[in-house]
Symmetry: C2
Subunit: 286 residues, 2 copies
DNA sequence: TGAGTGTCATAAGTAAAATTGATAGTTTTA
DNA sequence: TAAAACTATCAATTTTACTTATGACACTCA
């Protein structure tokens, strides 16, 4: 492990993050409780250390340069680690209950590893994971039934929360599937966001379709697709053996699948830690 | 994201790591290029910040307290991030070729995600992954054929390298499998470390066995086990559908599977980055 | 067009902090 | 019991960071 590379304080990182998020030195100075000139010097130190500009100074606002974007991701991870270390050492035995809501397919695919690690690090925490459709999760969250929810969302329409995952959404069919017209579809039932997106895209492209099979679970959908009942829409990495993406056909392109993490403003220390853990773990992969 | 928690410099982290690794303030001071008293004060600052001791001062050497162990893992990750950020910003366009050697099962299971992320972050790097048995990897590494290798090892016998993964090794059988005596085994061919470990354990327990099927690849082994040709030995998380761990029987317990990353002392910047990436990514999960 | 405003950068002085070198206080070793 | 090998502590010094005040710049609006 190389130990050169110039050193900096987590204070610098926090200032940097605040500036990146507000787009404004003065406002950021307010947040971190220091003078504007202090932040100016801090950024200067960072920029000199890295030998490149991190912010583009326009008159009305400062925006991140490409290098700044890169550094932001590192800065956030480092601050997260710092806070996590602090939490664990100050109050080693975090405990309590966390109610986490998540889409079913995400729960089946990416979450197990992430949650397993968390459990190992915090054995006295009661994890309570519920799977449901995004709309129900949102409703439940507002009703106070969850501490943390992971929801699907459109990349365009952002409703708060932090993006923790993004991957292409593709049309998928069984390996031995033959093209047909009108399209046979295998989809989740009504308020599913992928379903809505797929149907809207087809309508826009004026492709006729009909739904052959409906299953609320990912496993059910996959089974139906494998059985040749139709094609479906899936995140690219969730394709199991026997199902492949449909390429080069005239199916409409789909927007990326995006998963965001939403948490309460005021939340327990332990939920905060799980949120950080999820963000940190997924950021590495996505 | 909470922004309290006391702030510290990456310099402190490097000192801390050096002390933890040498078990000696004076030697560590030499490494980081500062006086012994400086390190003493730095550690004091950390300990006061966290409100707990990080080192246990015995007369002959200092050792980490349990809290120190926890902090060490965070410290390492933070320094790794710091170095990675630095590298990417100083020389944005890292390029070159990396020759990575890895066990086949590991390559199939955990590595794809990790490498995919790396590729996305460093598009101009040529990744060259070769799968082989640990013994061959070791030989190839010594012969200069690899920049980096991942190898299986016994938790007891450590030969250098950093542990990046650890998980229980279990006996596994097809779901419809019936117990039998002598045991029928499905294993990889000769110099496989799991094979050796399984057979040694059985011999120690004086269980008779015979090998029914031999396949060099994980897929081949799984197919044979599913077909009921015998039981095998697998890392607990690699069990696919249709194969389950054998519990409660009188099969001998197996030591954990452990994967270590070995790299040259003098290696290219880009290999260094991949090494860091692998360690960082897997540390979160394991 | 030109005063007003909001913005970041810079400068000089000051406050804070880290580092050092010397030293005291341990415990082990010979 | 003296020497050796440690770490902790202290006071002096050096380095670093912060603040206030001011400058420079570019938009905005009369």
């Amino acid at each position: 492990m190389p130990i050169d590379a110039f050193d900096f304080d987590t204070l610098l990182l926090k200032s940097f993050i605040a500036i990146a998020e507000t787009g404004n030195f003065t406002a950021a100075a307010e947040i971190v409780g220091r003078s504007q000139s202090a932040l100016s010097l801090q950024v200067k130190k960072l920029e000199e250390g890295f030998g490149c500009a991190l912010f583009q100074r326009e008159t009305r606002a400062v925006t991140l340069t490409p290098q700044g974007e890169i550094f932001l991701s590192y800065a956030k991870r480092m601050v997260q680690l710092q806070w996590e270390a602090y939490s664990r050492l100050r109050e080693p035995d975090v405990q309590g209950e966390i109610r986490l809501g998540t889409p079913e397919d995400f729960a089946a695919h990416y979450l197990p590893d992430v949650l397993a690690t968390f459990r190992r690090q915090h054995p006295r925490v009661l994890l309570n994971v519920a799977c449901d459709l995004t709309l129900n999760l949102m409703r439940g969250f507002k009703a106070g039934e969850f501490d943390l929810i992971l929801v699907k969302r459109d990349p365009q329409r952002v409703l708060g929360g932090t993006r923790v995952w993004r991957e292409p959404l593709v049309w998928a069919a069984a390996d031995n599937h033959q093209p047909e017209d009108p399209l046979s579809l295998v989809l989740a039932p009504q308020p599913c966001i992928y379903r809505a997106r797929a149907l809207a895209a087809l309508d826009r492209a004026r492709r006729p379709w009909h739904i052959t099979y409906t299953s609320p679970s990912l496993a059910g959908t996959l089974a139906a697709v494998k059985a040749g009942l139709g094609i479906t829409v899936l995140p690219a990495n969730m394709l199991p053996a026997g199902i492949h993406p449909i390429r080069g056909s005239r199916l409409p392109r789909l927007a990326d699948a995006e998963i965001a993490l939403i948490k309460r403003d005021e939340t327990s220390r332990i939920s905060e830690m799980l949120a950080g853990h999820i963000m940190g773990s997924l950021e590495r992969i996505s």
